[in-house]
């Protein structure tokens, strides 16, 4: 794999994470439990879609095959997506959505923090912009996990169930492969495996405050970030997200 191929894959991973999770949370638009949460989720989705434009826009330039961010977002099939499985997991109830958000935000904020020092100036400037927004996402999702976890008997039970369900999807964010090794060698991005300790400490702190128990089993579902095997949920998501551009290619708003 050339350095350029590896950089392209890395940028797809960053952009697909924000694209797919951004789309997922936009599914709450108009139906969230209360208006304030509806607006908060929609705003978070908006930040993610904006970040996606930066990542996938750069990915298209690196690939050099005349694909812009829209082309990459709307004209690839499931097996070409490089998001971690966590991002494509269904919304479930509001608690599951917030738990998924926190588990991702915690990784995202730590990872972007390292990218600020990337040897690739484009990566560093996107990270600089995104990390400010993500710090805000994390503050909110962590606070909401605590409020619901340490809330009523019902909300506590739902948050524990959400954590039990989603925790097997955490491990994939810390796997390393050839792409990561190349990025680490070039000083473009950190080896994800080196961030697990910091992540575990952050998650443990929030879960303790939320009175939730982190599952002991570290089994990790994988196959999203390398495209080996996505869950069945991604295809359904893409059907909805890509429908218009597939039915009417290059339609303009």
């Amino acid at each position: 794999m050339t350095r350029q191929d590896a950089l392209f894959q890395f940028l797809l991973r960053m952009g697909d994470n924000t694209l797919i999770l951004g789309h997922r949370i936009s599914e709450w638009c108009g139906i969230a439990p209360v208006l304030e949460e509806d607006i908060a989720l929609a705003n978070t989705a908006l930040d993610f879609i904006g970040q996606t434009q930066f990542w996938l826009g750069y990915a298209g330039e690196v690939e050099g095959k005349d694909q812009d961010a829209d082309r990459l977002a709307f004209h690839r099939d499931a097996w070409d997506f490089r998001n971690v499985l966590l991002c494509e997991m269904p919304n479930g109830d509001f608690g599951q959505t917030i738990m998924r958000q926190f588990l991702f935000d915690a990784w995202h904020s730590i990872f972007l923090g390292r990218l600020l020092k990337s040897s690739d100036p484009r990566v560093a400037e996107i990270a600089e912009k995104a990390s400010k927004e993500v710090a805000y996402h994390l503050e909110r999702s962590a606070g909401t996990v605590v409020a619901l976890g340490d809330g009523t008997e019902e909300s506590h039970a739902r948050m524990q169930a959400a954590l039990d369900y989603l925790y097997p999807y955490v491990g994939e964010m810390f796997l390393s492969d050839e792409v990561d090794q190349q990025m680490a060698e070039a000083g473009i991005a950190p080896d994800p495996a080196t961030l697990r300790e910091e992540y575990d400490a952050l998650v443990a702190r929030v879960m303790a405050e939320a009175t939730l128990n982190i599952p002991e089993n570290r089994y990790a579902h994988k196959g999203g970030r390398d495209g080996y095997m996505h869950t069945e949920h991604l295809g359904h998501l893409l059907c909805e997200m890509q429908w218009l551009q597939r039915a009417y290619p290059d339609a303009k708003w």
Partner: protein, 153 residues
């Protein structure tokens, strides 16, 4: 035709309102980072407030329209992400106008220091997010009015 001076162009841009918060100009908002002539082409460097802010494309269009109205045809808009936009770049005039308009200006403490309607310091947060990506939703406990707070980033 002689080229308009950079100072003149800054003045013209200062007359272009923010599409979402029309009481402040794009210059007040701090998103115009540079104005420079490159030979015959005017280059205006703009930084986004938030990555996904839907106003960004409207802002670019408004800049183009305003400058074309002043006879500038060779215009290039450059997007700059770094240094990332911060609310520290809001002008003093912009902050004052926000408050008059009913939007509490950003504070380093992370919340409004008073209600923009009645001036009470007895305020509480309703939601970390609000009607646009740059705002949060607060409420005054004395006059009971809800208000927008311009998030500090």
């Amino acid at each position: 035709m002689t080229q308009a001076s950079v100072e003149q162009i800054w003045q013209w841009l200062d007359a272009v309102p923010d599409p979402e918060i029309p009481v402040i100009s794009l210059v007040d908002l701090g998103i115009i980072r540079d104005v420079a002539w490159d030979d015959e082409t005017l280059i205006v460097t703009v930084t986004p407030t938030y990555s996904g802010c839907p106003a960004t494309s409207v802002i670019n269009l408004d800049i183009e329209t305003a400058l074309r109205d002043h006879g500038i045809d060779n215009l290039q808009l450059k997007r700059q992400l770094s240094p990332a936009w911060t609310t520290d770049w809001l002008s003093e005039r912009g902050r004052a106008r926000l408050e008059e308009y009913g939007i509490a200006p950003p504070q380093p403490a992370g919340g409004p220091d008073r209600c923009p309607h009645c001036g009470s310091k007895n305020v509480t947060r309703v939601s970390q997010f609000g009607s646009t990506p740059c705002k949060a939703h607060w409420r005054c406990q004395d006059c009971l009015e809800p208000f927008d707070y311009f998030k500090c980033i």
